[in-house]
């Protein structure tokens, strides 16, 4: 069958099972947009290419399928660099197709030319510049294979205009869809290990059965590997407590008795201290990020480490494991369950973690997540808003967030009971992530309620995508915690820069968020008094045909606690001031 390159590109995406793509056309990618008219693939037209990238990420997080975005050359391509970097840091499977100037013009500083494969080399798992129309199907197959296997990540495919433009003879090609074997054979350097080494599994199981103060340190890799059920089986089999990192919220139910919540810089006291006092950390699909470890030499000083990860380079990158296991998190956890059961059947005793669990519950009782009651007449407490949103939403509601204080409060105060209900920018920390990510998630899971928890600073970075949501009838809900500040930066300036506030004030009413949201086709509300929180949330939740924006005027002086100051040991965690007195006789060491 004779096709032109543009048709072949769209057909390849169809063959890969793509149902939706996010994008914005322009000169160089124009010929590929023509066959979209005849394709069953839904195209969501964004207002800025960064939006397309984050939507594709949100879609991938929510569905487990790779997100696809398509943009033009030059500025279109450079605008999507941030989402690529974001997806790379958080191991999100994503395919980005960029238009490129015609092959003959490459290197001449042509109009809208950018060396996007060069630019994105260090923020993609891989990228390609395709130079022949005939190679398009193979490039797309390779891109999907690379993005979705091993450690998932973003792949960029750069397509020069001449090989997709039907008026150019270089676009002629004979359609051939490569087989899976041909794809593997075409990538001789790419063979990800998925099965954990049996000897390492055995060693890990033995170590787990001998532990006294074990903690399962569950990371985002468990979600990528669809391993949440396996994790629960392992934790319950041994009665081991679980901490879920920012990227793993929802991988283990927050209301489970073994769940200690989030560790790290703004983690729960108990989650942080459990790791500090642990004698065995079982790191599954986690990467010892600096926000989790605090000062590395002081992190979990007594613990032996079992570290399982699909990416061999993560093992020993930060902390040398006693038992390294390379492989898929789900397969490794399942193998661990089998091996632990086998050793128990042969007479090994389950470790007695009663005393350890008692210590942990003591900490949980002394240092729960808490905030002070609001004072009559003052602005709203952000935590109170989150609790109301949480308690009013169905338990499978998907929550996305931007980056900053609101993100930490959302992660802390939401009760995640199911995997794939929490979508945020963890590694790169991309402000403006939540609105487009929520749109992508809602497109992927139209059956679910989707709330974006946002800050006023973040909202201003990508709010234009609400036009996309309104135009495409994607009914997401946005909660802006408007404290009129870049809140997290303000918190650092208050705590570490002697309250010298430099360039963090944003104003509560410039812009007018309600008018702005309405102008973008959303229903909008403003909440200033505690008694209005619940009725307004109820109204927002009842709307299912348009995007809704609710602006909550919150107290800028509220800080995120607990907190481990950057570069400090996790043992120096600061609880909120009103909890400090109770600590003196009880804080570990």
């Amino acid at each position: 069958m004779k096709l032109n390159g543009g048709q072949a590109l769209i057909k390849s995406l169809e063959m890969e099972g793509v149902e939706v793509m996010f994008g914005l056309p322009g000169g160089a990618i124009l010929p590929v947009y023509d066959p979209i008219i005849d394709s069953p693939i839904r195209h969501v037209l964004v207002r800025h290419e960064q939006g397309a990238g984050h939507m594709a990420e949100g879609y991938a997080h929510a569905t487990g399928k790779p997100g696809v975005a398509m943009v033009t050359s030059g500025p279109g391509a450079t605008n999507i660099v941030t989402p690529l970097a974001d997806a790379y840091m958080d191991s999100v499977p994503m395919i980005v197709i960029t238009g490129q100037v015609p092959t003959a013009a490459i290197g001449t500083d042509a109009f809208q030319e950018a060396d996007i494969t060069g630019i994105t080399q260090s923020v993609t798992k891989h990228n390609f510049l395709v130079t022949e129309a005939q190679d398009i199907p193979m490039a797309i197959r390779q891109a999907f294979h690379i993005a979705t296997t091993g450690r998932p990540g973003p792949v960029l495919v750069d397509i020069p205009k001449d090989i997709v433009d039907p008026t150019n003879p270089r676009s002629a090609m004979e359609w051939v869809w490569p087989s899976a074997d041909e794809v593997t054979a075409s990538l001789p350097g790419y063979k990800p290990t998925t099965i954990g080494h049996p000897r390492k599994i055995k060693e890990a199981a033995t170590m787990m059965l001998a532990a006294e103060r074990p903690v399962i340190y569950a990371g985002g890799g468990i979600l990528k590997a669809r391993g949440a059920e396996a994790l629960r089986e392992l934790a319950e089999l041994l009665g081991f407590p679980v901490v879920t990192t920012l990227m793993a919220r929802g991988a283990f139910p927050d209301d489970h008795e073994l769940c200690l919540g989030m560790p790290g810089m703004h983690g729960n006291y108990t989650a942080i201290m459990s790791m500090q006092e642990s004698d065995l950390l079982i790191a599954l699909g986690s990467r010892f990020d600096d926000r989790v470890t605090g000062k590395v030499p002081n992190f979990a000083p007594l613990a032996k480490i079992i570290h399982a990860d699909i990416d061999p380079a993560e093992l020993g990158k930060v902390r040398r494991p006693d038992v390294p296991i390379v492989g898929d998190a789900r397969l490794i956890i399942e193998a661990l369950v089998t091996e632990v059961k086998a050793q128990i059947a042969k007479g090994a005793e389950k470790p007695d973690v009663t005393a350890w669990r008692a210590t942990l519950s003591g900490w949980q009782e002394t240092y729960p997540l808490a905030y002070e009651d609001p004072v009559e007449g003052e602005l709203l407490k952000p935590q109170m808003v989150l609790e109301a949103l949480r308690d009013s939403a169905p338990e499978d509601c998907i929550v996305t967030s931007g980056v900053g204080q609101h993100q930490m409060w959302a992660s802390q105060y939401w009760t995640f009971r199911h995997p794939y209900t929490w979508i945020n920018s963890g590694g790169l920390g991309t402000m403006g992530f939540s609105v487009p990510a929520a749109i992508g998630a809602k497109v992927g899971r139209p059956d679910r309620m989707v709330w974006a928890i946002d800050g006023d600073g973040c909202f201003q970075m990508t709010a234009q995508e609400l036009v996309t949501a309104a135009a495409e009838r994607i009914p997401v809900k946005i909660a802006i915690l408007n404290n009129a500040y870049l809140g997290m930066v303000r918190q650092w300036q208050e705590m570490f820069y002697d309250e010298r506030y430099s360039e963090v004030y944003l104003s509560p009413d410039l812009p007018d968020y309600v008018k702005w949201a309405e102008a973008m086709g959303c229903v909008a509300f403003r909440v200033e008094h505690p008694e209005d929180i619940q009725p307004t949330i109820d109204k927002a939740n009842a709307i299912d045909d348009r995007p809704v924006v609710v602006e909550f005027r919150t107290d800028a002086s509220e800080k995120v606690f607990p907190m481990v100051a950057a570069g400090h040991s996790n043992s120096d965690v600061q609880v909120p001031p009103f909890q400090r007195a109770r600590g003196s006789e009880e804080v570990a060491d």
Partner: protein
């Protein structure tokens, strides 16, 4: 100078595709690994090229460098070449200032090291030397006493020794943590 204590030699087989060298160099740069020298050329199989890269393991553990290199899709195989089980060569050409009577001393030095005289004029000589990198180091040191005006070294290239069994190569690929 390349002493074998803090430098390690990696032989990296890569797909012979556009931009692969840039990916390797970019990886070293972005992860703050230091390259001491790098040589690259196609192999007997036109699908692949071989890089011999001498890395400075003071900047990062060798294991981490190898693992990160392996993550590049176009990297097919990495072998650490243990100096005692490999043959290593390097080529140097240098232009040495040597007017009049000094010329004889330089040609004598080149003869001792089995180097070649490539060009000569009134005030200078261009010499070349191919040999083990440490021998090239020694020759370079000696030439410095005369004054080197230009020098280019290729960086080392290496292959496993034949007289020992190839199994002695440490295949760092499979070494976990």
């Amino acid at each position: 100078m390349a002493t074998d204590i803090e430098h390690h030699t990696l032989s990296v087989l890569v797909e012979n595709k556009a931009g692969v060298l840039a990916r390797i160099v970019n990886l070293f740069s972005r992860r703050a690994y230091n390259i001491y020298s790098l040589a690259v050329a196609p192999t007997e199989d036109e699908r692949f090229s071989r890089l011999t890269v001498v890395v400075d393991v003071d900047s990062a553990p060798l294991e981490q460098i190898v693992k990160q290199l392996h993550k590049l899709i176009n990297v097919v195989k990495i072998v650490e070449l243990d100096p005692s089980h490999s043959v290593e060569r390097e080529l140097m050409i240098a232009t040495v200032r040597c007017p009049g009577e000094q010329r004889h001393q330089v040609t004598e030095l080149a003869r001792i090291f089995e180097g070649k005289i490539l060009a000569v004029n009134q005030n200078a000589l261009t010499v070349s030397l191919e040999g083990h990198p440490s021998k090239v180091d020694d020759f370079e040191d000696m030439l410095r006493t005369f004054g080197i005006s230009d020098i280019q070294r290729t960086g080392r290239i290496a292959l496993p020794k034949l007289d020992r069994d190839a199994g002695k190569l440490r295949a760092v690929k499979n070494r976990t943590a």
